[in-house]
């Protein structure tokens, strides 16, 4: 097999290692997430298990936007087109994970805190700000698609992407934590504080975050490989 041929996009050995780790980790998370014991709380009841699935979506979005912004910055420095492709694919996957985060959050709130009210959207500050963030990232793709010339597109999109990532911590953390919210975090860092998360749940929650970040990296690498091949094909019309 010619698998060992060097690729400009990915270290295949690392890729296979991460793939195996993610497969094991997320299988364990699903099993432990449904079968493990959790503290019994009113209203939340068993739906507290959603912590393992809804929250990692946002950690993944955060990771994706940072990866995307890093490559946009590098693109502005060196103009390497692979950097532009990396920034685009990371932002696209970030958007997908963000949409999954919004939808899973809507379902969780609708049938837990808003049970019997029929309210799918409750204007929780974090929910609304997250929606704004997704619109900002959606605009990144609208902007990209509106510019024909690849170098101009890459440059303008990279500058916009750097603006977009700066809004991320404000929209996901700073503003929502100043307001009364269904989400934890008004009093400190809920992911690491001693009171907000039961010790037994940490053993599932942290691996879940790592697992979904790994899954993002796998999907991202796949898409960059594909985009890179397509880019190479465009450059050689008489292949």
């Amino acid at each position: 097999m010619a698998r060992s041929s060097p690729s400009p996009v990915v270290n295949h050995r690392l890729y296979r290692l991460v793939r195996a780790t993610v497969a094991v980790l997320l299988t364990g998370v699903i099993l432990a997430g449904f079968l493990g014991r959790i503290p019994e709380l009113d209203i939340l009841e068993q739906s507290a298990r959603n912590l393992y699935f809804h929250v990692p979506m946002w950690f993944t979005l955060m990771g994706a936007t940072i990866v995307s912004a890093y490559h946009s910055l590098r693109y502005l420095q060196c103009g390497d087109r692979l950097r532009d492709l990396r920034a685009r694919e990371a932002a696209w996957l970030g958007l997908i994970f963000g949409i999954l985060g919004i939808i899973t959050g809507m379902v969780w709130a609708r049938f837990t805190w808003y049970e019997g009210t029929g309210k799918w959207w409750n204007f929780d500050p974090k929910q609304s700000m997250a929606a704004v963030l997704l619109l900002i990232y959606g605009a990144y793709f609208v902007l990209r698609d509106s510019i024909e010339e690849p170098d101009t597109r890459g440059r303008i999109a990279a500058v916009y992407n750097l603006f977009a990532v700066v809004t991320m911590p404000f929209l996901l953390y700073i503003i929502p934590r100043q307001l009364p919210s269904l989400h934890p975090g008004g009093e400190g860092s809920p992911a690491f504080s001693q009171t907000d998360l039961a010790p037994a749940m940490r053993w599932v929650f942290y691996p879940s975050v790592l697992g979904f970040l790994g899954l993002f990296w796998l999907l991202y690498t796949q898409r960059v490989r594909l985009a890179w091949i397509r880019d190479q094909l465009r450059d050689t019309p008489d292949l």
Binding site: G33, L41, I43, R49, V107, F111, E115, T117, L226
Partner: protein, 98 residues
């Protein structure tokens, strides 16, 4: 949004061996603006069954559907690329025979 604290002294079924943490009152408060006195019906009844475990199932399924959608989209991209490769290689073949 108004926050109504959960009524204190309200007897709740607690697992005998499990101590209820008292530091999580924020999650226990009632966030709804409407009173939840009416009996749940239809979708709410279904999702509320088994201690709301079906809410977790719905969330996991949604993530799963999202991942399947990604899989299909990537497949389509590969397919388009393969077709283009096929076109260019058949053009090459036809130009070689001329």
């Amino acid at each position: 949004m108004t926050i109504h604290p959960a009524p204190t002294g309200h007897a709740l079924p607690v697992h005998p061996r499990q101590e209820r943490p008292d530091t999580t009152s924020a999650y226990d408060s009632t966030w709804t603006e409407q009173p939840t006195s009416q009996a749940p019906d239809g979708l709410d009844q279904m999702m509320g069954a088994g201690g709301k475990i079906y809410v977790v199932l719905a969330v996991v399924l949604l993530i799963w559907f999202g991942l399947v959608t990604l899989l299909v989209r990537t497949d389509r991209k590969i397919g388009r690329l393969e077709r283009r490769l096929g076109e260019t290689s058949s053009e090459d073949a036809s130009s070689e025979t001329q």
